[in-house]
Amino acid sequence: MRASRPIAPDLFTWPADEPRLLGSRCTACSTVVFPAASGCPRCGSADVPRHELPRRGELFTFTTQSFLPKEPYTGPETEDTFTGYALGYVALADEVMVETRLTESDPELLEIGMEMELVVVPFRTEPDGTEVVTYAFAPAGGSS
């Protein structure tokens, strides 16, 4: 098996059979944010311990990215090979909405309100062969 690493440390639990995003939760006002922050943007408290987010949620909104983004994008595509991807916000229970790539890139197959589930997917491969993985959301029960 090839070596792999998450795109950033402390973003999601990995390796894991059931990975979870890592946010923080304010002890004072219960506000949850993602990624983890050093203070609460709602009440200003600095008591914001790490918090594992729910793995499933509802698609709040979405779009597609149909042109190759400029720097600092580090996806493996070139102008010639770029085919686009979808992204959106998924509302994780009553905790927080997270911005995420979606594994389904056809907008006709995406629908606001649909159930989504966290997955970890390959993003790019480094020159030394290390696979960089990222979090994404897939339609729950879908094949991707």
Partner: protein, 388 residues
């Protein structure tokens, strides 16, 4: 409010090889002071705004007070303003405050910018975001507009055809505006069939970054008649930032609890200060970074209710001859977006309309009340209310 606009100037919007952002700004200021019938030494203060200096790849001649090298080293108080998409609105807010403080009677506010082709590529670090956020391809402002309008269409029954109607109207208006960048009309079908950039928004529904400048001369209202027999009264100018729960660009997370946009606060305060109701507006310029933004801002400003836009666009209500003309100069869709100049272009157009000088695109029936609204990163909005 006791301030009038007594002079306006604009440099056409588009692409101008060989000219710096400062060159465009100086051109607009010269036009504005000539329109007011004054000379640069009579200008007592100035606020100048430009964003390009902080955007990778944009023109570096972005420090507004360097304009004095071209306009004259008169020693006036000149303040640089750097306030996101509300930069021009912020110059006006401060210009008005300075006159109302009693410090001065006559000043200039100018906005200009010069950006490269393609989408703005801000760095995540500038916005206090982690690097991975940019690596994954989230630092693209157009995605935000697409995701906001997708949800709005779902909640309020707006069709894709109506997105195309907005762009077609703004291209039609731009074709009548000699200062606009895009002067070729496109019909709804061509707009819907142009390249999909961020679903549901196609290429011709978006504005593009470009170059341009606009300026105004502000004057204490009691003295306005000394300079012009056609003063336009700046009845209110307001600027607001995002509150908890608003849906903004470059957000790795959003709260479940949804709040309202900064435009709602800025517009409400603007109408209150002016003592004018949204229903009294005769002509409006609102931020149309893309078609969906114009639709959402119509409601956020209070000019209509959520969901009413579908019927209004079908009926042609927002056309130049309609009951509420919007973006009569073609808006951002036809003029592009030099960020620092964009809000000032709206004020320029509104003054032209209220003076009755808008030529082929003049709103009929002697409009008396004009409203402008800009919105953008990082969650800011500025509005003005103008009357004759």
């Amino acid at each position: 409010m006791s301030v009038a606009i007594v002079g306006i100037g604009i440099h056409p919007f588009g692409r101008f090889e060989g000219a710096t952002g400062l060159d465009l700004g100086a051109y607009a200021v010269r036009q504005a002071i000539a329109d007011a019938g004054i000379t640069w030494p009579e200008v007592q203060f100035a606020f100048g705004g430009s964003l390009a200096g902080s955007l990778p790849g944009s023109d570096e001649s972005s420090q507004a007070d360097a304009l004095v090298n071209q306009l004259g080293l008169t020693g006036l108080q000149f303040t640089n303003v750097h306030n996101g998409c509300a930069t021009a609105g912020s110059t006006l807010a401060m210009g008005v405050a300075l006159i109302e403080s009693g410090a001065y009677d006559v000043g200039v506010c100018v906005g200009f910018d010069k950006h490269p082709r393609g989408h703005f590529n801000a760095t995540p670090e500038q916005s206090g975001l982690p690097h991975w956020y940019g690596e994954l391809g989230f630092m693209v402002t157009t995605q935000f507009f697409a995701m906001k309008i997708s949800r709005y269409m779902h909640d309020h029954g707006i069709s894709r055809e109506t997105l195309a109607r907005v762009a077609a109207k703004n291209f039609r208006n731009g074709a009548l505006n000699p200062n606009a960048w895009r002067r070729k009309p496109f019909n709804e079908e061509e707009i819907l069939e142009s390249r999909m950039l961020n679903y549901p928004l196609t290429q011709y529904m978006f504005c593009s970054p470009d170059e341009g400048a606009a300026a105004v001369v502000l004057c204490r209202a009691e003295r306005a008649r000394e300079l012009t027999d056609r003063p336009v009264h700046l009845r209110a100018v307001t600027m607001r930032t995002r509150q908890w729960g608003s849906f903004e660009v470059f957000a790795p997370w959003l709260s479940i609890e949804r709040g309202h946009a900064p435009t709602v606060d800025a517009a409400r305060a603007c109408f209150e200060q002016a003592g004018v109701a949204p229903s009294e507006v005769d002509v409006a310029q609102v931020q149309d970074s893309e078609s969906g933004a114009e639709i959402m801002h119509m409601a956020e400003t209070g000019l209509c209710a959520d969901g009413e836009q579908e019927e209004m666009l079908v009926a042609g209500d927002t056309e130049i001859g309609g009951r509420l003309p919007i973006n009569t100069d073609g808006g951002l869709i036809a003029n592009g977006e030099p960020i620092g100049a964009s809000g000032m272009r709206q004020v320029y157009e509104t003054v032209l309309q209220l003076r009755g000088d808008a030529g082929e695109r003049q709103v009929p029936g002697d409009p008396k009340v004009g409203f402008t609204q800009v919105y953008g990163a990082p969650g800011v909005s500025a509005c003005t209310l103008l009357t004759v």
